[in-house]
């Protein structure tokens, strides 16, 4: 069955985390997902929550209204954006007065938030909508022997009460997908630890220390790679890995890939189409260590 979604890119993925966008645009259509590019989206609002929550709510509602105008469900690859949009729907559905007030403001752009839209993130899109069986059928180069740790990212797991893509305390969907690719998911005590990214705006040193501590723990457990599903987490673990290592005085050498990149490797897609040269961590180790 063909699935159609408006791709909500957010800010970070389309302006610097190109590997995520390249790899999801390469892999998802193979699995029967049609991604529709929609003009006019803006920031989801989540980065402004500490400054003004009404602004966050407005920006989220604005983006939902744009997708609703096109009668499309929304695929949100960023964990932060996914939380902002989900929370906005939760608030507007529960609070008609707020919905009316937000719609009054949206009128400036001739937009209206109408009704609840189906939102998916990479994890539930792959696990629940596409399904493990379909993923298995597309694997051409199984990743046998690769011990991979999963990092979900806080914002796709909590708060449970508004509905999140996986369980808040014991998420397993990425692990199930990793098994389908032939890899060996590793359980590790630091699995639910934060990547540190939300502190980038005002405490960048502390943010990197958080990143460094988690990567150091992963390195010490002889895990061969880390897989993530959020441009913010990836910015920390991959793009800033060297700097994160400096904060904990360790030379870090952990291959970090987006789940969609790993999917592409297992599907036999050439690395350049998956943006693998954009990862700054030593991802070539992953390709070498996979036993066909």
């Amino acid at each position: 069955m063909k699935k159609r979604y408006a791709l909500f890119p957010g800010c970070l993925m389309p302006t610097e985390q190109y590997a995520y966008e390249l790899s999801l645009r390469e892999t998802l259509p193979l699995l029967g997902v049609e991604l529709v590019d929609v003009e006019g989206f803006s920031c989801c609002g989540e980065p402004m929550k500490s400054v003004n929550q009404l602004l966050t709510l407005y920006l989220s509602a604005r983006n939902l209204a744009i997708a609703q105008k096109h009668h499309l469900d929304i695929y949100v690859p960023c964990a932060m954006c996914h939380l902002a949009l989900t929370e906005c729907q939760h608030i507007l559905e529960k609070n008609p007065a707020m919905k009316e007030r937000i719609n009054g403001m949206l009128a400036a752009e001739e937009l209206t938030y109408t009704e609840k839209t189906h939102l998916v993130h990479t994890v539930d899109l792959l696990h629940d909508v596409i399904g493990i069986q379909t993923i298995k059928e597309h694997v051409k180069k199984p990743l046998h022997g690769l011990k991979i740790a999963a990092h979900y990212g806080c914002h796709i797991l909590r708060p449970k009460e508004i509905g999140r893509p996986d369980d808040s305390e014991n998420p397993q969907k990425i692990e199930t997908i990793l098994k389908a690719l032939g890899a060996e998911p590793v359980n590790y005590p630091q699995k639910l630890d934060c990547c540190g990214a939300p502190l980038l705006a005002n405490l960048p040193e502390s943010a990197l220390t958080k990143t460094g501590q988690k990567l150091q723990a992963i390195q010490e457990q002889q895990i061969q790679g880390l897989v993530d599903v959020c441009p913010w987490c990836h910015k920390m673990f991959d793009s800033r890995q060297t700097k994160a290592g400096e904060t904990v005085a360790v030379k870090l050498d952990v291959p970090v890939v987006y789940l969609t990149q790993l999917l592409g490797i297992a599907f036999g897609i050439p690395p350049e189409k998956l943006g693998l040269e954009l990862n700054l961590s030593p991802v070539e180790k992953l390709q070498q260590e996979a036993k066909p």
Binding site: C11, T15, N52, Q53, E109
Partner: protein
């Protein structure tokens, strides 16, 4: 509209300030009442070990009415927004929501916003996103931008004036 209107919430903002204070009063009177100081929030807090944030103490201080002290404390800006405190509280208190409200009130009262938040807000007002397209470096030290990779054009507000007019309503709205 200048950035000052949205951040310091100048004169037209007295109503919004009132709304924020009402929100906090609600949190103070209704929610923090349920907290029995079990400190489960603090035990899981991502900012606790590194930056000494203790969410259960924030709740206790709020209950004691130390609002001014709280909004002027740097520690409220150490929250990593991991949502574990909200998830794990047996009394559904959600310290994270209290922290967001405190930060919003600090901003509305003209306290200087730390770090890059102002720059991100300025960028949102100008082009709709927290930053414009960046040049990135590959592992082999070549630089690339979005266009070089064959990705479609960036999705951003088409009519910047209309987009700003919408946001302006937040800064000006009488609630």
């Amino acid at each position: 509209m200048s950035i000052i209107d949205l951040t310091s919430m100048g004169e037209p903002q007295s109503e919004l300030r009132k709304e924020l204070n009402d929100r906090l009063t609600k949190l103070q009177d209704e929610i923090s009442d349920y907290c029995f100081q079990c400190a489960r929030c603090t035990s899981g807090c991502e900012a606790h070990k590194l930056l000494e944030l203790e969410p259960h103490k924030i709740v206790a201080l709020l209950k004691r009415g130390l609002l001014n002290e709280l909004i002027n404390a740097d520690v409220i800006w150490t929250c990593m927004t991991c949502q574990k405190c909200r998830e794990r509280c047996p009394q559904r208190v959600a310290p994270i929501e209290i922290l967001f409200a405190l930060k919003n009130i600090a901003v509305a009262n003209g306290k200087q916003i730390p770090g890059k938040y102002t720059a991100m807000l300025q960028s949102i007002l100008t082009m709709g996103l927290i930053q414009d397209v960046q040049q990135t470096t590959t592992r082999t030290n070549t630089t690339v931008k979005r266009d070089d990779l064959g990705l479609p054009p960036l999705s951003k507000p088409v009519d910047a004036a209309k987009f700003q007019a919408g946001i302006m309503k937040i800064a000006m709205e009488k609630v």
